[in-house]
């Protein structure tokens, strides 16, 4: 396969990372916490899609909607039960809780579905595109489109709407936001609902190209999405997109030209180098220490 085809493969992979990273970065940007359960919400979204399509026999579009609804509710419930009581706790406590929630979701999936992976039909029926000898699958065309739309939509939502502004206010100063009349708890709930809905969409597209879902399906992609978000500058929406695509391309090129086994090591190596040179990530803002 030629170099261009490898780049396209990287772009396909990177788009899914980007989509996952968008949800990660949004929740971090507003709620100022790393939701390590984000990858596992992706897994729940993928299972929901599969159950509704295969077991209930609904058309893909209904299954996708069901997946979005289930994940949004799950995200809000997780926030209410696990994170809200820790609103004033140290970031480390919240981080450990998030890891706990991640294992909890994996264990519940393991209990319900067992450890065998389930085959999932693709929810995307679009035909692939081929230009000359280059090939793009239907799923990756849809993923690219969806990721771009979500990135632009999310940016406009946060910059232009009243609710988006309220989110920015909450992210900067919860007390001052309350003095403006902003309901902080509700705003954080909505942030989690949106972040988890994005995880559901990422889950749908991920299993549609991968073909299987298991209890640990979300774990490694979740970490990769986190890396993508940090690489691009965590909290930055365009950063998540850039970080995800770069990560996918680096991974794909490493596999093609260096070594399949070393691909992950190279990906994480790049992250370390970027953070050494620019600790805030590629597009991240440097927060000034307030005097």
């Amino acid at each position: 396969m030629g170099f261009i085809q490898q780049l396209i493969n990287g772009l396909e992979l990177g788009n899914i990372y980007a989509l996952m990273a968008l949800g990660y970065t949004m929740v971090y940007g507003i709620a100022k916490m790393l939701n390590f359960a984000h990858g596992d919400i992706i897994m729940v979204g993928a299972y929901t899609l599969s159950l509704v399509m295969t077991n209930v026999g609904m058309p893909p579009i209904i299954a996708i909607l069901a997946s979005v609804v289930v994940c949004s509710i799950l995200g809000v419930v997780i926030e209410k039960i696990a994170y809200k009581p820790l609103r004033n706790a140290s970031p480390l406590t919240v981080l450990i809780t998030a890891i706990g929630v991640s294992y909890f979701l994996q264990s519940v999936a393991l209990l319900i579905f067992g450890s065998n992976k389930r085959k999932v039909e693709s929810a995307i029926t679009m035909q692939g595109i081929s230009i000359g000898s280059l090939e793009l699958t239907g799923v990756s065309v849809v993923t690219l489109g969806v990721t771009l739309i979500i990135m632009i939509g999310l940016t406009l939502f946060i910059k232009k709407t009243k609710l988006g502004k309220a989110m920015l206010a909450v992210s900067e100063d919860k007390g001052a936001a309350q003095l403006m009349g902003i309901n902080v708890n509700q705003t954080i709930s909505i942030t989690f609902a949106i972040g988890s809905a994005l995880a559901a969409i990422a889950g749908v597209l991920f299993v549609s190209s991968y073909g299987f879902v298991g209890p640990y399906t979300g774990a490694l992609p979740g970490i990769k999405a986190f890396v993508a978000a940090v690489l691009g500058g965590i909290g930055s929406i365009p950063g998540a997109m850039l970080g995800g695509i770069l990560l996918g391309i680096i991974e794909s090129l490493s596999k093609a030209y260096i070594s399949t086994n070393l691909a992950d090591a190279i990906v994480f190596g790049v992250l370390i180098i970027v953070l050494l040179v620019k600790p805030s990530g590629l597009l991240g803002k440097v927060r000034m220490d307030k005097v």
């Binding site: 502004k165 900067e172 001052a176 309350q178 003095l179 009349g181 902003i182």
Partner: protein, 236 residues
């Protein structure tokens, strides 16, 4: 009837009793000064009134409604705005975005625009810098923005916490002039200040707070002539 009534308020930080049974009243149209040294509990009282911290005992009533049972985000739409200590403007947003957040609970766009015009006429510098990121403003400008943001909610009463803190004398005079203007336009003012002399010069009545207790209350012009106050707070 008092507009704002605080009765036997007790507030704790963990095991520490910070406010030990404070009572005071603010009547409509008044400027009330709450003065006292650092750590006397002035900021704690304001934070308790607007719901940022809870009380252990006592009662706070605003226009007959129990504020201790009202969630913080619902208080501003009842007509109470709070300019917090240290300004706490949204540093990463623009001046205009900050002002618009002040009107978060209002829905009529034409009324909001009208208030915005009024604020720009009071603080012309905010209009000049409306597209600027708020964190890049000077201290005095940030204080004006914090006051403008509070006024955007069109409050009946405005609580101000140390508006003169860290400002040059020139700005201090300007800020106090604006507080007098706010008062004369019909808004009730509850002012917390360490700069007792300045605060007393514009207040109708004042309460003196010492380690969580009110030790003196009365007309501002009487308090300004009180010998113990002169010694303790006015440096005379």
């Amino acid at each position: 009837m008092a507009m704002l009534k605080v009765e036997n308020l007790e507030v704790y930080y963990g095991m520490i009793k910070a406010i030990k049974g404070v009572s005071f009243e603010v009547n409509e149209g008044e400027v009330i000064a709450l003065i006292g040294a650092n750590g006397a509990g002035k900021t704690t009282i304001l934070h308790t009134i607007t719901g940022l911290i809870g009380a252990k005992a006592g009662n706070i009533e605003f226009q007959g409604k129990n504020l201790l049972k009202t969630p913080a985000h619902k208080i501003v739409s009842m007509g109470m705005a709070h300019v917090p200590e240290g300004r706490r403007i949204f540093q990463e947003l623009t001046v205009l975005e900050n002002l618009k957040l002040g009107a978060y609970t209002r829905s009529s766009k034409s009324e909001i625009d009208e208030t915005l015009k009024m604020i720009y006429s009071k603080f012309p510098r905010l209009e000049e810098r409306k597209e600027q990121i708020a964190g890049t403003l000077s201290g005095g400008e940030q204080q004006m923005l914090a006051m403008g943001r509070a006024l955007m909610s069109h409050p009946k009463i405005i609580l101000m916490d140390e508006p003169s803190m860290g400002l040059s004398p020139l700005y201090v005079n300007e800020i106090f002039k604006i507080i007098e203007e706010i008062s004369s336009s019909g808004t009730t003012v509850l002012l917390v200040e360490q700069n007792a002399k300045k605060a007393l010069s514009i207040a109708d009545r004042a309460y003196v707070l010492e380690t969580g207790n009110i030790v003196l209350e009365g007309k501002a012009k009487d308090i300004i002539n009180d010998d113990s106050i002169k010694k303790a707070y006015l440096g005379e």
